[in-house]
């Protein structure tokens, strides 16, 4: 009986240990979120969203150009990344069961692990070298290429959630395959595809490394695709590694703005998956 008592004690101890692992894993999250919110909120003001950055010591100023730059870069990235990523995802879901499909799926999975800074160098080689200057376009291409593999896999998963019975019902009525795919399967999966796109956009908006030597940075407003462009993430980085307390404060506030942006995209995506799927799948 002593043995049984010991075995039970080990069982209880391991239950506690694994439970503690959950707590330990979540402590940094709590600390980080609390700190960003408490430190960042101090610098929030209307001018922070609308004004250009000011030099050290000058009061006021904001990250308006960087915020707009992030949106601009993500927009350019979508032009490159969405057709390729969503298209490849639809291919994987609709025709991806053969050998070619498996090879493409595997390639996408492996590519999704390629470090973002490597993709930045690729965009440098593709856009910056021929154009001989850093540009918003190069940043957009970097973020767009980065989107493709993950977007393809998420799109596939969400399109595959459409019940086979819907497709069969349509085919049984004599509707051709392509019409069934477009008007039945993809229309049903639209909510899922939008979710996948939002998640990809959220990821792209938080990227810094591939922008350092593609979009570079800019102290002013920029709308030209062939000029360097500021972004929220690069701005946070520059403020953080500067030696000025004033700029550190701005880094925290900009980080809060970035977290709110990324968080809003992620929450919208979650909400859409829950409400956008056909009823059987809820």
């Amino acid at each position: 009986m002593k043995l049984l008592a010991r075995r039970r004690a080990v069982n209880a101890a391991m239950t506690v240990v694994t439970g503690l692992a959950v707590v330990v894993a979540l402590v940094p999250l709590a600390l980080l979120l609390w700190l960003v919110v408490s430190k960042g909120a101090a610098g929030l003001s209307w001018t922070f969203f609308t004004h250009l950055p000011t030099p050290v010591g000058e009061p006021g100023g904001g990250v308006g150009n960087a915020l707009l730059g992030t949106l601009y870069l993500v927009g350019l990235a979508c032009l490159v990344g969405l057709p390729l990523g969503v298209g490849a995802g639809v291919f994987l879901a609709e025709r991806g069961d053969g050998r070619f499909g498996s090879a493409i799926r595997f390639t996408a999975e492996v590519l999704s692990g390629v470090p973002s800074i490597v993709v930045g160098i690729v965009a440098y080689g593709l856009v910056v070298v021929p154009m001989r200057r850093f540009s918003a376009l190069a940043g957009g291409v970097a973020l767009g290429l980065l989107m493709v593999p993950t977007l393809a896999r998420t799109t596939e998963e969400l399109v595959r959630l459409v019940p086979g019975s819907l497709r069969e019902a349509s085919l049984a009525l004599g509707v051709p395959q392509w019409k069934t795919s477009l008007r039945i399967v993809l229309r049903t999966a639209l909510g899922g595809i939008v979710t996948a796109v939002l998640l990809a956009i959220a990821r792209a908006a938080g990227e810094t490394a591939p922008l350092l030597f593609t979009a570079l940075n800019n102290q002013y407003w920029n709308f030209a695709p062939d000029q360097p462009t500021a972004s929220l993430t690069v701005q946070i980085y520059n403020y953080a590694i500067s030696p000025y307390a004033d700029w550190h404060q701005k880094a925290w506030t900009a980080a809060l703005v970035l977290l709110l942006l990324v968080g809003a995209l992620n929450l919208t995506a979650r909400f859409l998956t829950r409400s956008g799927l056909p009823r059987e799948q809820r």
Binding site: F91, G96, V114, I117, V122, V148, L212, A240, L259, G263
Partner: protein, 316 residues
């Protein structure tokens, strides 16, 4: 009648044929992206080919762009040390968390914890770096490093000046960042273990922990190795957070308190300012090394996870 005879892989009318071809072309785009990455990296590296021997590049310890001396070893060393440290910290926590989530946690707790883990994964790298620089580094400098030096100071790992920045800071911040990857893949893998295995162990009188240790974990071992390699792949390529806390000195030091450098960090710091063609080529060469490492790790990891899933598919 026609609809019945048409198989999904043999489109019969023009629209179907076009749609099929269009889809295949879109799928092929992924392969094109892969090709473009390899070609672009290769082309940027060419100025170095013939001038610097590959082995010398990888084994060289001296990195001095002004003197055209390019040795990658300090960066490879820093990348490996920080990544392995991150795995050593994150793996036990992730596995514990995954076991708790799959085997122990009440049903209502699961969606909450998985939402929080997803949040951890969604936080941008530069925000981790900001937090690391202003919170983690001072904490290490003032509390953790003196304590470690006091307790284990006889080991060369914990000697030298305690400045906060360095391998230890980079490894810990990486651990936080790769934890969601390892945990979520491990959870996925544990879920594929057939319930009959657990039941068999429990019915023989095993306690819950014994069932986990004797029936569940051995079955999931290959998948957990895959999860670890995926985490390692992520740690190798992580750039911003590491750049901000590692100190950025191209030196090989034994002490975890010492500052160092990693492959992604040196690319991030020097690429935009690299003026000579050779410097750009050397940095692109580092990127190629990084690319090769991450492709290798990810391919092996995915194959392991796939194999586990396929094996379970036929059993249960």
């Amino acid at each position: 009648m026609d609809a019945l005879s048409a198989s999904p892989h043999r489109p019969r009318n023009l629209g179907d044929r076009l749609w099929g071809a269009g889809l295949v072309a879109l799928g092929g785009a992924v392969a094109v992206v892969a090709g473009v990455i390899v070609l672009a990296l290769g082309r940027l590296t060419t100025p170095l080919v013939g001038r610097v021997h590959l082995l010398e590049f990888i084994k060289g310890q001296d990195w001095d762009p002004v003197a055209s001396s390019f040795g990658a070893l300090p960066f490879i060393y820093g990348t490996l040390v920080t990544s392995l440290l991150a795995i050593a910290v994150a793996l036990p926590i992730s596995v514990g968390l995954a076991i708790f989530m799959v085997e122990i946690a009440p049903g209502r707790l699961r969606p909450v914890v998985s939402f929080l883990i997803e949040t951890l994964a969604a936080i941008p790298s530069v925000v981790y770096g900001l937090w690391g620089l202003f919170v983690l580094v001072p904490w290490l400098r003032e509390s953790v490093e003196p304590a470690l030096a006091g307790a284990f100071g006889f080991l060369p790992l914990f000697q030298g000046p305690q400045i906060g920045l360095g391998f230890l800071a980079a490894g810990l911040i990486l651990a936080v960042m790769i934890l969601p990857t390892i945990a979520s893949v491990t959870i996925e893998v544990l879920k594929t273990v057939p319930v009959t295995l657990r039941e068999a162990a429990l019915v023989l009188g095993a306690t819950r922990w014994e069932a986990i240790r004797l029936a569940v974990l051995p079955h999931a071992r290959a998948g957990m190795l895959g999860a670890t390699l995926l985490g390692l792949g992520r740690a190798l390529g992580e750039t911003m957070a590491v750049t901000m806390v590692i100190g950025n000195t191209p030196e090989i030091r034994t002490s975890l308190f010492a500052t160092g450098y990693t492959l992604p960090a040196v690319i991030a710091n020097e690429f935009a300012e690299a003026t000579s063609g050779e410097h750009v080529a050397a940095l692109a060469g580092l990127a190629l090394v990084l690319f090769g490492l991450s492709i290798l790790l990810n391919a092996v990891a995915r194959l392991l996870v796939q194999a586990v899933k396929a094996a379970t598919g036929s059993v249960g």
